[in-house]
């Protein structure tokens, strides 16, 4: 019945390209917004560059990240090859490895960990948050108490303790950081679910006999995508920092693999002689997190209608 009504409608009205391709129109608006906002554009460019360099790391890195060259260890950054020696744009580390190449390769680890943890923790947290908010009652009580208890725990110390027990490697870091990070998704998803559950369209869906799964994933989930994406972006910035911190303490990525946090830790011993070994990996962390944060802030303003109006009207905090 609904279909025939649609056919009748489309038969009469001439469609513009916007109607035909709502997705393209959305993209166009998306891009216009992005270019209009200077800070967001900077953030997006940074994030894109980091992602690109991570993907193409083996091709764009000037040297192999693990090849040692003891004769040229702790070389300061050079921009010219006047000496005829090999050029190391950002210098070399304590084993003569090229810093720039290691930073480019280190970015792969950081991004891979951040993306996986966001997917795992996000998926897990959102699922239980949806279940909790949808069913309410005792289910809600139990899930939210678990979230509360885990939030009260010192996450970082616990993560370190678990890592010691199960051994430091990439999988375990992902597991530990996911265990640490799912609660916030559960809370947000539950909060939105509680509001959605009372809406009329949800009750209508219920009334025509949708099952629980369909209600949750087909009717509720699509309506909370934008706040969840914003949250996931913010969390990604946090996870990049967390992975760097764990690696810095020697409980993350292990040598000879390159990770930004680990590189800072390795350079720590040469603090008095070679500042560049420490400075550049740290800068890489800071700039990446900066870019991700800018993108997250922008996503929030674009996807939140209230913020959007504020921005377009050019006023903030109307009384």
């Amino acid at each position: 019945m609904a279909n025939s009504a649609m056919e009748a409608l489309t038969g009469e009205v001439a469609l513009t390209w916007q109607d035909r391709f709502p997705f393209l129109q959305g993209m166009a608006r998306f891009l216009r917004d992005l270019i209009g906002d200077k800070m967001a554009l900077i953030g997006a460019i940074i994030v894109l560059l980091v992602i690109l360099s991570a993907i193409t790391a083996p091709y764009i890195a000037p040297y192999d990240p693990t090849t040692q060259d003891i004769r040229n260890r702790l070389q300061p950054p050079t921009w010219s090859s006047a000496t005829g020696a090999q050029v190391h744009l950002l210098g070399t580390d304590q084993l003569g490895r090229d810093l720039l190449s290691r930073i480019i390769h280190g970015g792969r680890v950081s991004l891979a960990v951040a993306l996986t943890v966001t997917a795992v923790a996000g998926g897990f947290g959102i699922f239980w948050g949806l279940v909790s908010g949808y069913f309410g009652g005792r289910v809600d009580d139990i899930i939210m108490r678990i979230v509360d208890v885990q939030t009260a725990f010192p996450g970082l110390l616990l993560a370190m303790a678990i890592i010691t027990m199960i051994g430091p490697n990439i999988q375990n870091i992902i597991i530990v950081l996911s265990i640490n990070g799912w609660m916030v998704y559960a809370r947000i998803a539950r909060g939105i679910m509680l509001a959605l559950r009372e809406m009329e369209y949800m009750q209508a869906a219920r009334a025509i006999g949708c099952g629980h799964l369909r209600m949750i994933f087909r009717h509720a989930l699509p309506n909370m995508v934008s706040p969840l994406i914003t949250l996931a972006t913010l969390e990604m910035a946090r996870i990049i920092l967390a992975e760097a911190s764990l690696s810095f303490l020697g409980m993350g990525i292990q040598p000879p693999q390159a990770s930004w946090g680990l590189m800072v830790a390795e350079g720590h011993k040469y603090i008095t002689v070679a500042w560049w070994v420490i400075a550049f990996p740290g800068l890489a962390i800071a700039i990446t997190v900066f870019g991700v944060n800018l993108v997250a802030a922008w996503l929030r303003t674009v996807t939140d209608p209230e913020q959007r109006i504020k921005r377009i009207a050019g006023v903030s905090g109307a009384s």
Partner: protein, 287 residues
């Protein structure tokens, strides 16, 4: 309980604590001496009984009660965290207020840049950079250790950067919200001095989110965020103790440390809830 599960269920504690070259007989003997060969529920019962009385067993490394080791380290961590939070609040409140008074001014932009930097820069890296600049190059402060105020300055700055950034942003945005309200116009209309309007009226009403965030930041620091900074500056707090205990696989100390920190977090959370009541009359309605 979580502590117990993590430390017992995820690996063989006896294997972890002994050196790699220990023979199978040695491992067995040690396991027996520590009671690790008893059934798990019996071990858990013993652990829980001890934990309630504050007894986590002796440190495997120093042969003194684990809890006393942790408590010994508490003043250093508290001193560092409190200094950092006072520093962060002391700078961010005036900065945030000035920024909110002149949105989009040069000061406002500087403010945003500063807080973004604070949020994005990893604390451990900032700590090392500060050491390179102020301890190695200019020799103004000590690179590491504990004792005088010259030891305290650099770690406190490194730790304060993140809360500074976050608090400045919240001060700015909540002050901007308050300054647009009607009562501010009334107060100005009454002819009150601008100073009074800003500090007594607007700031007081903007205080709730600011205090919440500041308290939360302090909790976060005590909940283990100090670890990085303590590790960089060899600051003898319980964060450094945790790192050392983990490196030595000193199980009782790890358990005691996590337990104490969790306790601190719970106490902090309760205090924050109580603090709400005194700040916001609306929370007090049915006390």
């Amino acid at each position: 309980m979580v502590v117990f599960v993590v430390t017992h269920a995820l690996g063989d504690p006896a294997r972890l604590m002994l050196p790699l070259e220990a023979t199978e007989e040695e491992v067995d003997a040690f396991r027996h001496a520590m009671g690790f060969d008893d059934p798990l529920y019996e071990q858990f019962f013993r652990f829980a009984k001890g934990a309630i009385r504050g007894d986590f067993g002796d440190s495997l490394w120093q042969r003194v009660p684990a809890l006393s080791l942790v408590i010994e380290r508490m003043p250093a961590s508290f001193l560092l965290s409190l200094t950092a939070i006072v520093l962060a609040i002391g700078i961010s409140i005036p900065l945030g207020i000035f920024a909110s008074l002149r949105p989009r001014s040069l000061l406002d932009q500087f403010c945003t840049a500063l807080s973004l930097t604070g949020i994005c820069v990893p604390a451990f890296w900032l700590g090392i950079m500060l050491i390179i600049l102020f301890a190695v190059k200019y020799r103004l402060f000590y690179t590491s250790g504990y004792g005088t105020w010259r030891h305290l300055v650099l770690p406190a700055i490194a730790l304060a950067a993140l809360p500074l950034g976050r608090i400045t942003q919240i001060v700015r945005s909540s002050m901007m919200d308050e300054l647009h309200r009607q009562y501010i116009k009334t107060a100005r209309g009454k002819g009150l001095a601008e100073r009074t309007v800003i500090l007594r009226h607007a700031l007081k009403n903007a205080a709730i989110p600011i205090v919440t965030l500041a308290a939360w930041e302090l909790t976060r620091m005590l909940a283990g965020y100090t670890v990085m900074v303590e590790a960089v500056f060899a600051w003898p707090g319980f964060g450094l103790l945790a790192v050392q205990a983990i490196e030595r696989h000193d199980l009782p100390v790890i358990q005691a440390d996590v337990f104490v920190v969790a306790l601190i977090v719970v106490v902090m959370n309760i205090s924050i809830d109580l603090l709400y009541g005194s700040l916001d009359p609306r929370v007090r309605i049915r006390g």
